[in-house]
Symmetry: C2
Subunit: 428 residues, 2 copies
């Protein structure tokens, strides 16, 4: 394989012709492969079946004697709050357990902020005219969709391997009171797989927002999802905030969607006592309590934070080969061509791929036509608009290893075609 960037026009034309022949052969195979979403594989889900096999009579009573089958315990059962407090490095009083997914909790916090306001804010966000959120890119499409749904303007913030451009973040947040929040996936980010450096976390904690009701949406979805020997290190943002007295600025989210069951996990919000108390008053109007039996299932299954970590090691053993396979296929399929760069994360669910500008949409389309489904090009940017049309999120978790290898082989083929088309069009 040759570096495409130094090929002559003639070489490129010949290469494209040969690739198109290969592509037609793949098309004829009738593939049906899906790398579009970060879904756990059934085998991964099986790792948590023990949680469901517990004797249900062991799950009924909390240590205080509360019957989890009945109403109450709005904030979550003590045992669950303690488990996740331990895991997140906060106090139990700073933990709220609610609902089945953290996405859901984020939505809830967002819509409540709009209609009812947040702790310390002078009035609800929705009564303050046009609102803005900062969006480190590439990022998580479902964060962006929420802002879009609520008509919140999104501003792209470039991201480097240490995290978002904090000078830019500071400049925006400290000058513009209409900026109400920022979306962060601080560890093994979606899709980049990067982890914010201690300096980045410190810079977040040190922010002095122009708005009195600004919130950092700290979506720590993958904090437990390291799959290599060396786990990335993320500073506990609440520890960093202590120095600045800025704890009220942070909502931290996590869930067990990718720890136990994506379809039946529990979600966790960690926040300052002020925020938790304020939110509980709002949540108390909404429900008499979330599913406590499922909280108890998780508590009894994991026992403590080490239990979660041990469980995640099993998941790691399962995910690592999938990432290794994907990376190997990318290396052999593209490395020499010089037409793409991709992340090599130590954890999380995704690989972020940057091709030549103007290739992402075309590559996703080419893949789709051969039966390989990828996340939509542009999805990793607000409004689905990747300004350079080059980023693609690769989700290796769900396909089996053979499927994965086939999928990435096809992906590389399509990238090469798309790159050659772009390079040739430049020549024209």
């Amino acid at each position: 394989m040759k570096n495409y960037l130094v090929m002559t026009k003639k070489e490129m034309t010949a290469e494209l012709k040969s690739l198109m022949e290969e592509y037609e052969l793949e098309k004829a195979k009738g593939h049906k492969l899906d790398m579009s979403r970060g879904r756990p594989d059934p085998t991964q889900l099986n790792l948590s079946m023990g949680m469901l096999e517990q004797n249900p009579y062991d799950l009924i009573y909390t240590r205080k004697g509360t019957d989890v089958r009945n109403y109450g315990q709005l904030e979550g059962i003590d045992e669950a709050r303690e488990l996740f407090a331990d895991f997140l490095g906060v106090k139990a009083e700073n933990v709220f357990i609610g609902g089945q997914s953290s996405l859901f909790l984020m939505y809830d916090c967002l819509i409540k902020a709009l209609v009812l306001g947040v702790y310390g804010g002078s009035k609800p966000w929705g009564q303050q005219g046009p609102l803005k959120f900062l969006c480190p890119v590439p990022g998580y499409d479902r964060h962006f969709r929420m802002c879009q749904e609520f008509g919140i303007e999104m501003i792209n913030i470039p991201t480097s391997p240490t995290g978002p451009d904090m000078e830019l973040v500071k400049q925006y947040v400290e000058s513009d009171p209409s900026i109400k929040g920022i979306w962060c996936v601080p560890k093994y980010s979606n899709p980049g797989g990067i982890t914010y450096s201690p300096e980045t976390v410190e810079a977040f904690a040190a922010l002095k927002p122009a708005a009195d009701d600004f919130r950092i949406f700290w979506d720590n979805a993958y904090m437990a999802h390291g799959f290599r020997q060396n786990d990335d290190y993320l500073v506990n943002i609440f520890d960093a905030c202590k120095k600045y007295g800025s704890e009220d600025m942070v909502y931290e989210f996590m869930s067990t969607s990718k720890v136990t069951f994506s379809g039946a996990g529990i979600a966790v919000l960690a926040a300052s006592k002020n925020n938790i108390d304020f939110l509980l008053k709002q949540i108390g109007v909404q429900t008499l309590g979330y599913d406590k039996l499922n909280q108890m299932r998780h508590v009894r299954f994991f026992q403590n934070a080490d239990g979660i970590r041990a469980h995640m090691k099993k998941q790691a053993d399962y995910l690592r080969p999938k990432f290794d396979c994907t990376l190997a296929a990318l290396d052999s399929g593209l490395d020499a061509t010089g037409i793409g760069r991709w992340t090599r994360p130590n954890g999380g669910y995704f690989i972020s791929f940057d091709g030549l500008p103007g290739t992402a949409k075309r590559c996703v389309q080419l893949c789709a036509e051969v039966g390989v489904k990828l996340t939509d090009a542009g999805a990793t940017f607000p409004y689905g608009i990747d300004p350079e049309d080059k980023n693609i999120r690769i989700a290796p978790s769900f396909p089996s290893t053979p499927e994965l290898y086939s999928s990435i082989k096809i992906f590389c083929l399509c990238q090469r075609i798309a790159a050659l088309e772009v390079l040739l069009s430049r020549e024209a």
Copy 2:
């Protein structure tokens, strides 16, 4: 016991003195009784333990082969939609399964209407200036609290044994576009235990709202909760609506909170295809799906609508004696006095008690001081204000039968004291 209403002042004074002596004796006993909320009793909850004892491997796959442990099936699994469609008398496509409580779903529908609007509406409710809801009284405090939280003005609608005053409802709804909804508990209402007559349901279906985005919040929480031989008959509101083409006007809610587990049930919304499709688009921004494992647990446990009905017969056998005990204690403690009227429901969770005007708060306070906790006086009215201060909600489900008997005995004593105080103050 004598009729208090025909007593002389002297007789009343003597009676009050004797009752106060009795009251002091009760006080000394240090009671700790709670009739404040409609909580199921542990024995009732035990009836559903079979749901948790199912082999978890039997719960994983839907008949289409979908793995319920993974993401997806936003609208609920087919089997669950069919089960509750069958039970509610609608089509599966008209059913959405989401979350752990119907209160939660109502809140969600309400806040989404405010921020995002409803199907057929020209803009979100929240962008239309002051809003109003009609509130049949006495009613469910948690409905009213939601309106209060969102600053929606509430208008009391008197209720008779056939349902809300439909002439008044029609007059409001058809003349005022700022009226966006009405709260209804159409069967075994909370707290009255009444069931809307066929004429009432028909009148609802026939409404021609001034607002293009008016919704009936049809909280059918107790539809399965008849506990006598003769179950009340409620017309299926969607059947009634067909005649008028008004199906889009209704959101019907139910849950299994008082069928299986109050702390771990599933919630159901039935609505027109237009409403369901519109809501699913909104819900798709919020979550990737609700807890499908719990849906499957319910499906496999009940099998079909008859399964739910058979299960509810067991609950009925359990609740009926509690209501009978409560009614007997009320009869013997108050009937002759002429100072109160109470409902004799065929189902549901509550008895609604009307004392003499000006006695409810005093009675609840007297009860509290002897250690008998009741729902706050006024709670059954918007803003917690009972204009006549006479209604008290009695919730007989949670206490054991001996506790119940003691509680009602004390309740009668306190009612008599409060009534005599009021009657004597009239004399003064």
